[in-house]
């Protein structure tokens, strides 16, 4: 009697264990699917093309893009808090207009990354980042502060 009762209890326990492992699997899969959904659904809205000045072609007109290049020496002009300069890269040239905080290390020949739209003539930047070349680390002087 006692043995059989224990045996039955064990059989029931194994069965529920299996069911619970299944439950865990389901919870895990649901969580994994949710994470994947979060990644996929937020992805495309937050990606932009990252180009060099020489790669910026007409096909990107009007689109949000990120462009990297160097500041052409002598091209910087300021009017009030409006800044404009020419970014270059090999053969490419692009006039940039920007209003906002200018990074400390922004100067002639500095490596810069601008984000904004290009209308074929002028690049309207809403973000201006500067890199400091040849040094181990430099950080964004104007980044994403939202």
């Amino acid at each position: 009697m006692w043995y059989t009762a224990k045996g039955m209890a064990q059989a029931v326990a194994v069965d529920t264990t299996r069911r619970r492992n299944l439950g865990l699997l389901v919870v895990g899969l649901v969580a994994a699917a949710a994470i994947l959904y979060l990644v996929v659904s937020n992805f495309s809205a937050n990606t932009v093309y990252y180009l060099k000045v020489s790669e910026l072609q007409s096909s990107y007109h009007g689109e949000q893009v990120r462009v990297s290049g160097k500041v052409l020496p002598g091209s910087i002009s300021r009017q009030g808090d409006k800044l404009s300069f020419t970014a270059y890269d090999g053969s490419g040239r692009m006039r940039v207009e920007y209003q906002g905080v200018v990074p400390d290390i922004f100067k002639n020949n500095a490596d810069v990354v601008v984000e904004g739209t290009y209308d074929g003539q002028v690049f309207h930047a809403h973000t201006l980042l500067a890199k400091c070349p040849s040094k181990f680390q430099s950080k964004p002087s104007q980044g994403y502060a939202q």
Binding site: T17, T47, V48, Y50, L51, V102, D104, S134
Partner: protein, 685 residues
């Protein structure tokens, strides 16, 4: 021959010794494992392993010697050495000269290797005493990693390379980097990356020997905790530095270099939790080994990304020749470790089963899933530019909003899970008991959430986050209270002393809870400053004022201080909240003459009590008329992040501190005494 040539020679000898030690260590271990009880093989194996361990110790000495020479060269301005000329200059003060050590590529690699040789020596010495069977393998794996880094230093990126013509003065360090953060942030991160090598070496040793029991778990866990602590401190100092120096009002920008530093820390966090399941229940063995390997791979990957420049980052890195080397090393390490795990699968069978969804094990598993989810999202967003360039031929970059939108909710769930995990018991919790335990914390969370809503906090994610934080806080405090109250009853110690004693008696558990509380502080600071940051920019003439979020800032004019190499322009501003005068703040622009008049922004931050707002003020521009454009951020509760960081260090140290074996015995005997006393009291009654 100049002194630096000796240093270079030391590096080359260290490389040769590492190769030698790897060979003798591997062959010796093999002999020991296959000695078939032949004394001759055992003796030979022992001698070879000894010799290999001596190579580990010798390398710690040799690389320390080389590093000493680099410090010396920096301090004596030995501009015959290219690296010294690139990263330092005569006008640098000694307190910054030593930061030039890790100011460039070759030096930071040398620092990595230096720390590796020292940590390896300590690990081998420790393993020899405590895990003699694993020690030969631990030493060999560490030597294998040394071979790679010393190869780079000797033949690819030599920090002691000489210039053809001695430079008169060096280029120096960019003034932007002349900040106290620069003294600590890079060395902590480099050491952090490096320190994940030791748990990896233990894991490989366990796999090679087939000793996959519990013995090595404790060693791995402690070393992992040490790495986790160092990397965590590195991340926090990095955030602190960004906040106090860069002037964009934040502390974390989801920049590739930040992301790659966060990833191994995250997987280490996952391991620290899931290893407990293996310790208690003998489950998740493959998973845990996988996490140790993954952490190491991500740490090497991080070092590689930082050094190779393959991913454009606002951190600037010269594109270097190191890429292929790192890529090869990563490939070898990955294939080797995964192959080993696969080979040992039969020995890694699980001993237990999950009994219930309502158990600590299940909550740890969910914790791992979430952390790996965050790691995956971060990894994907970080390397996507590379993938898209290969696949589509165009570089696509992923902006910070992606990371915030994906990782934000996952971090929130992770915080909630801390609460559930704390309340759940091992194996299974009874539903009734769980709900009873859940009641007070959950109700507190809901009440505080509602109060905050009434007080005007209307952003739903922020409300959710604050409620979750309160829920976990109350759950954790109850845990402390219950244990201390029970002890106080049993031993008639005063409550405060009982509280200290329960932490002392079970450091791992309560140290862990203290780290959880630290994470809550961080979460409060991050939530508040992410959702309730205010910003305003205005050009102020003398006497004019601007207001942001109830704070008024009035300009008392611009002032100039001339120093030999730098001109400091500061704005004198008085700060008021409503009618209360809170003091003057002075943001500045420092203009460095030796750096083509490069300006450096000096941010003024004032933490306002009691509401813990950081008033964060900087000069963004000075116009021709001498009027400054002032940019103000109101960053609520950011200071809690730094206090959370301090608590994180304390909690982790409590966890990692070796628990003296004797105290375990004493703990048992006092428990027995208490029982005897109680029984005695009952009998008397």
């Amino acid at each position: 021959m100049i002194p630096s040539d000796i240093a270079f020679l030391a590096l080359v000898i260290a490389f040769v010794l590492a190769v030698y030690g790897l060979a003798t260590g591997a062959y010796g271990s093999w002999l020991l494992a296959n000695s078939e009880n032949r004394l001759y093989n055992k003796l030979r194996g022992n001698l070879l392993v000894r010799s290999s361990q001596h190579a580990v110790f010798a390398n710690a000495f040799l690389v320390t010697l080389a590093s000493g020479f680099l410090f010396w060269a920096l301090f004596t301005h030995d501009f015959r050495i290219a690296y010294v000329a690139q990263t330092s200059s005569r006008d640098m003060s000694p307190s910054y000269l030593f930061t030039s050590f890790w100011g460039g590529q070759a030096g930071s690699l040398l620092f990595w290797a230096w720390m590796l040789t020292i940590f390896s020596a300590i690990a081998v010495w420790h393993a020899r005493k405590n895990y003699p069977e694993l020690a030969p393998y631990v030493g060999s794996v560490l030597l294998g990693i040394e071979v790679f880094f010393l190869l780079l230093l000797s033949f690819v990126s030599n920090p002691f390379e000489r210039l053809a013509v001695e430079a008169v003065d060096g280029q120096g360090l960019n003034p932007l980097l002349m900040d106290p953060g620069m003294r600590f942030h890079p060395p902590f991160l480099l050491t952090g990356y490096m320190s994940f090598s030791i748990p990896f070496a233990y894991a490989i040793a366990a796999l090679l020997t087939g000793r996959l029991g519990k013995e090595w778990l404790l060693a791995i866990r402690r070393w992992m905790l040490i790495g986790w602590l160092i990397q965590g401190i590195g991340l926090l100092i990095g955030a602190w530095w960004a906040y106090h120096v860069l002037g964009w009002g934040g502390y974390w920008g989801w920049d590739p270099v930040e992301n790659v530093a966060l990833m191994p820390w995250l997987t280490a966090t996952a391991f620290i939790h899931s290893t407990m399941v293996q310790e208690r229940r003998g489950m998740l063995k493959v998973w845990n080994l996988g996490l140790v390997v993954l952490t190491f791979i991500l740490a090497i990957f991080g070092t590689f990304i930082v050094r190779s420049g393959v991913i454009s980052s606002v951190h600037a890195f010269a594109l270097s020749s190191l890429g292929p080397f790192f890529f090869t090393f990563l490939g070898i390490a990955t294939i080797f470790s995964l192959g080993l795990i696969f080979f040992r699968l039969p020995k890694l069978k699980t001993e237990g089963r999950f009994d219930s969804l309502l158990s600590k094990e299940a909550s740890f598993l969910m914790n791992n899933l979430l952390i790996l989810g965050i790691t995956f999202a971060t990894f994907w967003g970080t390397i996507f530019p590379l993938i898209s360039e290969v696949v589509r031929g165009a570089k696509v970059s992923v902006g910070p909003p992606f990371f915030k939108q994906v990782n934000g909710p996952l971090f929130l769930l992770l915080i909630l899970l801390i609460g559930f995990g704390t309340l759940l018991a091992w194996r299974r919790s009874s539903g009734h008991k769980f709900i009873r335990n859940l009641a007070l914390p959950a109700v507190s969370g809901i009440i505080v959430g509602s109060l905050l809503f009434l007080l005007g906090v209307r952003k739903f994610p922020a409300l959710l986050s604050f409620s979750a934080i309160v829920f976990v806080f109350v759950a954790t405090c109850i845990e402390f209270y219950k244990a201390a109250a029970a002890r106080s009853r049993n031993t008639s110690e005063p409550f405060a002393i009982a509280l200290v004693n329960i932490v002392r008696r079970n450091r791992r558990r309560y140290g862990g809870y203290i780290v959880h509380l630290a994470m809550l502080l961080l979460a409060v600071g991050i939530t508040a400053s992410s959702f309730y940051q205010y910003e305003s920019t205005r050009t102020l003439q003398k006497g004019q004022s601007m207001s942001v979020d109830g704070y008024t800032i009035t300009s008392n004019g611009l002032y100039v201080i001339q120093r030999p190499s730098v001109q400091v322009i500061y704005a004198d501003l008085s700060l008021r909240h409503g009618q209360d005068y809170l003091g003057n703040i002075r943001p500045e622009k420092r203009i460095y003459k030796n750096w083509e008049d490069q300006p450096v922004t000096g941010i003024a931050i004032k933490t306002v009590f009691p509401n813990l707002d950081d008033v964060y003020v900087l000069i963004s521009d000075i116009d021709q008329n001498g009027n400054a454009t002032i940019r103000v951020f109101i960053n609520p509760m950011v200071s809690l992040i730094w206090w959370g960081g301090v608590l994180f260090v304390i909690g982790t140290l409590i966890c990692a501190w070796p628990q003296a074996r004797r105290s375990v015995v004493r703990q048992r005997s006092t428990a027995t005494e208490a029982l005897v006393n109680r029984v005695g009291a009952n009998v008397q009654a």
